[in-house]
Amino acid sequence: MQVSEIISWLINLLFYKPEVFCPIFYPGLVTILALLIFIIWLERKIAAKVQLRYGPLYVTRKAGGILQLLADLLRYMFQEPIIPKTVDKIAFIAGPVLLFATAYVPAALLPATAEFTGLRSELSLLAVLALLTLAPIFDIIIGWGSNNKFSLIGSMREGYIVMSYEIPMFLSTLAIAMVYGSLNIVEIVEMQSRCWGILLNPIAAATFLLVALISTARFPFEIAEAETEIVMGPYTEYSGILYGLLMGASYVKFYVLSMLFALLFLGGWHPSITWLEKIHPAAPGLVVFIKALIIMVFGIFLRAVYPRFRVDQAIRVGWHLLFMLSMLSIAYSLAVIWLVG
């Protein structure tokens, strides 16, 4: 009797308390790990399809090698992380861990549905954005801590790119927040039940999407770790689980930005499927997840299409194109507010 009570209490705590469920299951850690395995597999598979080859195949051959990434993950886990003598040890070890953590934390704050959110705040959008800006610090720190010229150059590139995309990111998000007059993600989504944000302010949507691509080093902006120039950029000296964390962090950030895009511009959990709520209160949030997944698939598909830009060209895109676009999106929002009221 008592054991069953404890179990039911535990289940209640884990699965029906949003404060616990959101960070751990959806949209938090478990979803992220599953998604990491799936999306990297999909990335390789799509690239392989375009390039007329098979891609990952031999691990679980019947399922098209979908467990390949799980095998890779296990390998990273048990591989010895080599720490070179010349590195700054604290920065070298703490960097990847903190980078992954800062990439993950905003995901934990995203709402699953209107009633089921980890963070209830008037300012949840601002909070997610503020946390997103922290990650580049560690990217630069690890490049410096690696004490390798290639790492250092990669970090410098990362720093310059960060400076060029951060302001457009804020401005485009604030533009859509202005239209809805709210900084609360849940409220913004609720107001999109009739008209999606992408229709209200397409400029902001385009800017945000481009920023998402640049900030997570998707092609054609995979510049900080350009392989043929600077080996692996900031990650050159890394191996084992530390490298796994670094690789994962960029995908996690991409996931957060895609979720944010789905929530802000694609109507979030609308059209809501109410019968899903009978399964679990967070289940209607799957709609958001599917929308975010579509964005991510688009992002990873670009790898098969584009070469990479040079760093100065990317910065020019950031300042000339994105900055102007984000200013335009603010003006557009003001016009929409003035017209619609």
């Binding site: 300012l123 601002l126 922290l134 610090i137 630069i140 720190i141 250092l152 720093g159 310059y160 804020f170």
Partner: protein, 161 residues
């Protein structure tokens, strides 16, 4: 109520320890990169205080703008990271004296302050910003944008040389 107080006290103590330790490390760290990194931590700790004081908007603003600016610091510390930082001993002792005196003086001055924080929403602040402080807002945002652009162009020009 009592419990909430304890939690608040705990958070405050942790944040205070973090902030002061980071501040000490900013001035004492051998490498500029670490200094800049700890400045980011000072900013983050400060953001916690702000949230606790009832200014969540400012806290998040501080986190995104100010801690984000720390990136710039780190970046440029790296470019100039060739020579070790020298501290002159005599000046150091003088500085220590001055710092202790200043701290004591400030503490003495603050003693008389009483009052408890209240929560401030972003609507109030934004209405103030858009209303009464409109001009200051425009000036500040212009300054922010122009200096950032200027910093970038300067840096780029330096690279192109």
């Amino acid at each position: 109520m009592f419990q909430a107080n304890i939690v608040e006290g705990l958070i405050f103590t942790l944040a205070a320890a973090l902030t002061i330790a980071s501040a000490a490390l900013v001035v004492s760290a051998k490498s500029l990169v670490y200094s800049a990194f700890f400045l980011a931590l000072v900013g983050a700790g400060n953001a916690v205080f702000m949230a606790m004081l009832g200014f969540p908007v400012i806290s998040l603003f501080q986190l995104s703008v100010y801690v984000g600016a720390a990136v710039t610091f780190i970046l440029f510390s790296i470019t100039m990271f060739r020579k070790p930082v020298r501290i002159e001993p005599t000046a150091g002792i003088l500085a220590l004296d001055a710092a202790v005196l200043a701290t004591a003086g400030l503490l003495y001055a603050f003693q008389s302050v009483t009052g408890t924080p209240v929560s401030v929403g972003f609507k109030e602040i934004s209405s103030l910003l858009i209303g009464k402080y409109r001009f200051a807002l425009i000036i500040a945002s212009l300054a922010l944008v122009t200096t950032l652009i200027e910093a970038i162009t300067l840096a780029m020009r330096g690279e192109m040389k």
